[in-house]
């Protein structure tokens, strides 16, 4: 049955990996090594971005300026977002893809291993570029990092300091890295599947990632183009975004959000692909509505490319445009509802147990549900005028990207960690981590909905007195949320170091090729090809 698990642990029958120590990691072309590097990088940057926002929340604990000046505040919020999106969430998803795709589709490795290595090693320099202006400013060089928010809106970004140039360069590099990762995912899925694994038999995780990869290829060049135009506006006398020269600041918003909206789904699709696996495993029941989910992924992918302008409903779009973007945005609720339906139907009449990954999956469904429902009302132009640019939006997209994105990633980490390390993590710590995260997350972001309704704009370093109580609560929540993530890191670390030995089929109800291999899997995943019937 399990003929493929003969090659043991880290034996190296092909004589690859001539190096040991740091050089091994620098030169590795092994998908598991690269996946590990992506995930490690992502975890580190998650704490970097988290530290930034904890400083922001500390400043917002009470009215008045306590800890920092507005300039520095503006830098923290923008870089926090870029770090979390580009350096924490996206690399985590790419790490999953690297580790799990070959295992799940029966391939020996990713199709283009050297491209894979390059894709990863572009990330650390980019992260350095993004954060370096903070440190340069300490030595009196420049005026700090990007202070425009992660959206780079022109003309504020044309006016901004050196930090903008660093961020433009960093975004270019991060974009190239993501494009290479996406190309690799696409060609791996199209060319390296085991015989018999047709596209419609492929695991949903692979499907989710396939759509993500196409979205990245379609939208990242547009972002790159937009920031290139910004760069030439800043330094080479062009006037793409300057009305005085026949340009238009709103053009930048169109270009940015043509990337920015699909980006939300880029972050979420891998997680949506992962969820049915986890839910089916812990419900001990096959996935409900496989085809419906695949088609929903595709429909969401396509729709995400045609709804971008709902991010600037207050910019004064013409009425027909407002109506079109409202209805197309609302249309996304249909395929998304299909996914929710399938998730719950997968649990229905199963035999559920609630290990940590299942807890995170259920937490994800409920909290991401709040994001989806508030998204529905945000789509409504008539009500959006009040929500727009307010803390209501901040709360909404953190329900989408923290509860949806990061908690989704945590689901995957707990689900696959025993497979990666060969050890079980501490279930007790995992559950504690889950409950701390969920409670403090709501404590942080639920008040922000009310702040937005009461009229608090986002991105302000100081606020009027009527917003004081909710901000204080939110800060308390954020501190608990931030520090409980140390439990997560500790749990992972101890799991790598040792623990109860994990079986090949880690979870009782787990189905799929990845569970046929030993835990941890052999250095070369599928030396002998599995055949799918």
């Amino acid at each position: 049955m399990n003929t493929a698990t003969t090659a043991n642990g880290h034996a190296d029958p092909h004589g690859e990996g001539h190096y040991s120590g740091p050089l091994r990691w620098l030169t590795t072309t092994n998908h598991k090594d690269i996946g590990t590097m992506y995930l490690t990088f992502s975890l580190i940057m998650f704490f970097v971005g988290g530290a930034m926002i904890l400083a922001v929340r500390a400043e917002l604990f009470s009215p008045g300026l306590q800890l920092m000046q507005p300039e520095f505040f503006n830098q923290l919020i923008g870089v926090h977002a870029l770090v979390m999106i580009f350096a924490a969430l996206m690399p985590a998803a790419t790490g999953f893809a690297n580790w799990m795709l070959p295992l799940m589709i029966g391939a020996p490795d990713m199709a283009l291993p050297r491209l894979n290595n390059w894709g990863f090693w572009l990330l650390p320099p980019a992260a350095l570029l993004l954060t370096m202006p903070f440190f340069l400013a300490l030595f009196g060089i420049g005026d700090g990092a990007l202070a425009t928010g992660w959206t780079f809106y022109a003309p504020l970004s044309v006016q901004g300091g050196m930090g903008v140039d660093f961020a433009i360069l960093a975004v270019h590099i991060l974009g190239i890295s993501s494009i290479m990762g996406s190309i690799n995912v696409i060609v791996t899925i199209f060319n390296m599947r085991a015989p018999g694994m047709t596209l419609m038999k492929m695991p949903l995780f692979a499907w989710g990632w396939l759509i993500t990869a196409f979205l990245l290829l379609a939208t990242l060049p547009v972002l790159a183009g937009a920031v290139t135009m910004l760069l030439t506006d800043r330094h080479f006398g062009t006037q793409f975004f300057d009305a005085a020269g026949g340009g238009d600041p709103i053009l930048f918003q169109h270009l940015f959000w043509f990337f920015g909206h699909p980006e939300v789904y880029i972050l979420l699709l891998p997680v949506w692909g992962l969820m049915p696996h986890v839910l089916a495993t812990f419900s001990r029941k096959p996935t409900y509505g496989y085809k419906a989910q695949v088609y929903s992924f595709i429909v969401i992918g396509v729709l995400s490319l045609v709804v971008w302008a709902h991010h600037f409903f207050t910019a004064g779009l013409p009425v027909p445009a407002l109506i079109y973007f409202m209805f197309s945005t609302m249309a996304i609720s249909i395929p998304l509802a299909v996914l929710f339906f399938c998730w719950i139907a997968t649990m229905w009449k199963g035999a559920m147990t609630f290990e940590t990954p299942m807890l995170f999956a259920v937490g994800f469904i409920v909290l991401f549900g709040i994001a989806g429902l508030t998204g529905l009302i945000l789509a409504d132009v008539a009500a959006d005028a009040q929500y727009h640019h307010s803390y209501f939006v901040v709360a909404h997209f953190h329900y989408a990207l923290f509860a949806g994105g990061i908690m989704g990633v945590m689901t995957g980490v707990y689900y696959w960690l025993p497979k990666w390390t060969g050890h079980m993590y501490s279930e007790k710590l995992g559950k504690l981590h889950f409950w701390l995260t969920v409670v403090s997350f709501n404590l942080t972001f639920m008040p922000q909905f009310f702040l937005g309704l009461a009229g608090m704009p986002r991105r302000i370093p100081d606020y009027a007195l009527q917003f004081a109580e909710f901000n204080a609560i939110s800060t308390v929540g954020a501190m608990i949320l931030g520090f409980s993530q140390l439990l997560f890191a500790w749990n992972i670390w101890s799991c790598i170091r040792g623990g109860e030995k994990a079986e090949p089929r880690v979870w009782e109800g787990a189905e799929g090729l990845e569970w046929e291999l030993s835990s941890p899997p052999p250095h070369h995943s599928w030396e002998i090809q599995p055949v799918i019937k």
Partner: protein
């Protein structure tokens, strides 16, 4: 009374989860523990609406909150039921179905989506389209025009029909922001010169900006619109109730984005007209004063007022600036350079040129458009005789007026 009921209903519905009660309890508990908590009133919804649009928006918001709350409760009640009943620990044996099999099952699987489609495009969509059309109809039966210009970090208001315009800046002292003084009741939401509008009149508001994108927002009006440099955007308000309404800039516009409040005084029409007459008279007096010769002391005194209002946010109280972004005026070669050339014309990149035309690509804007002849002459003279500069020269409002005409 009514609004309180409304608040609590909408508060309940917008939370919509089991943690609602716990959360409200936490909110109250934490609030009561905070020293010097400013207001005991907890707001779970929009502030009281005072325009037709704001009322419509609140109505739509409350309706949607109710709808999504019901969706949330129904969907997750089903999930939680399943989580309780279909556990391994209660001995439930798993089924193996992977999709609807019978026609009946297909029917029940499709019903939720039909309901959702109905909610999206009929229940929410149709009223939304009507609301959009009325929100964007700025021109029909508009009684007057107000032009709003955003600039870093203040608002300029102009009444084109009356020829009145002025700048409105935050009046909260910096000491309050730095926690050196007790904070006032309207901390950060107070201005030196509020914009005055008549109640019961449809006011067409035109928006633009001189530098970066700003957003003009008064929550009680239900109106929020971006002010974009080089373009005109518009919206409208019809204020139904006299009062003082406060809001602030809602689009990140640089360092003092948080300190750019909007304050609107809505007054009955006769009061508004009287106010407007007074403003016109002041404008005439100011224009007339541009033609007379000013003494250096007068200019410096007036210049300090202008500086403290318009320039101080960047160049700071002692002219020390915030390098490297906002250059210092103290010790600046531009300030200490020559005033005008021998023909009385502007020298490129000189002090007058900077103040007049700004510096493209930076926060230094062209004040030619936004300050009066007297204000320009005063602030230039003030800067040349302050912050360690003792040039002793001055420029007359009449000279500014002449330079302005040449530029045209």
């Amino acid at each position: 009374m009514r609004s309180i009921v409304l608040h609590s209903i909408a508060g309940g519905s917008s939370l919509a989860s089991a943690c609602l009660r716990r959360f409200q309890f936490l909110a109250l508990a934490a609030g009561s523990l905070l020293p010097g908590a400013a207001s005991a009133e907890y707001k779970f919804n929009f502030p009281e609406p005072v325009t037709p649009i704001a009322r419509e928006t609140l109505h739509i918001h409350n309706e949607f909150m109710l709808i999504i709350t019901i969706l949330f409760v129904v969907v997750f009640a089903i999930m939680i039921y399943s989580m309780i009943k279909h556990r391994k620990s209660v001995g439930h044996t798993p089924s193996t179905f992977t999709g609807p099999t019978s026609a009946m099952q297909w029917f029940w699987a499709l019903v939720p989506f039909a309901i959702l489609l109905f909610i999206d495009f009929v229940l929410m969509g149709i009223p939304a389209v009507q609301a959009i059309i009325s929100m964007e109809d700025t021109k029909t039966r508009a009684d007057m025009v107000l032009k709003v210009t955003g600039m870093q970090w203040k608002w300029q208001y102009e009444y084109p029909e009356a020829g009145v315009k002025f700048i409105s800046t935050m009046s909260t002292p910096r000491a309050q922001i730095a926690n050196a003084e007790a904070k006032g009741e309207h901390y950060l939401l107070e201005v030196d010169k509020p914009v005055v509008l008549p109640v019961g009149k449809k006011v067409r508001i035109l928006l633009t900006s001189t530098d970066v994108i700003h957003t003009w927002w008064v929550p009680q009006f239900g109106v929020k619109r971006d002010a974009i440099p080089g373009f005109l955007r518009e919206t409208w308000v019809l204020i139904e109730k006299p009062g003082i309404y406060r809001g602030q800039c809602a689009e990140l516009c640089g360092k003092d984005h948080g300190f750019m409040p909007v304050v609107v005084h809505a007054v009955p029409e006769p009061e508004y007209l009287a106010w407007l007459e007074q403003q016109k008279a002041e404008a005439v007096a100011s224009a007339g004063s541009a033609d007379r010769a000013w003494s250096s002391e007068e200019l410096i005194a007036e210049g300090k007022t202008v500086y403290d209002k318009v320039c101080v946010a960047c160049h700071q109280a002692e002219g020390q600036g915030l390098p490297p972004v906002f250059p210092a005026l103290a010790g600046s070669k531009i300030v200490s350079g020559p005033l005008l050339d021998m023909n009385g014309k502007i020298i490129p990149d000189s002090h007058v040129d900077r103040v007049f035309n700004g510096k493209p690509g930076t926060a230094m804007q062209a004040f030619r458009e936004t300050l009066s002849d007297v204000e320009l002459a005063a602030v230039i003279t003030y800067e040349r005789n302050s912050f360690g500069h003792k040039l002793g020269d001055m420029i007359q409002p009449a000279q500014i007026k002449a330079l302005r005409q040449e530029a045209k």
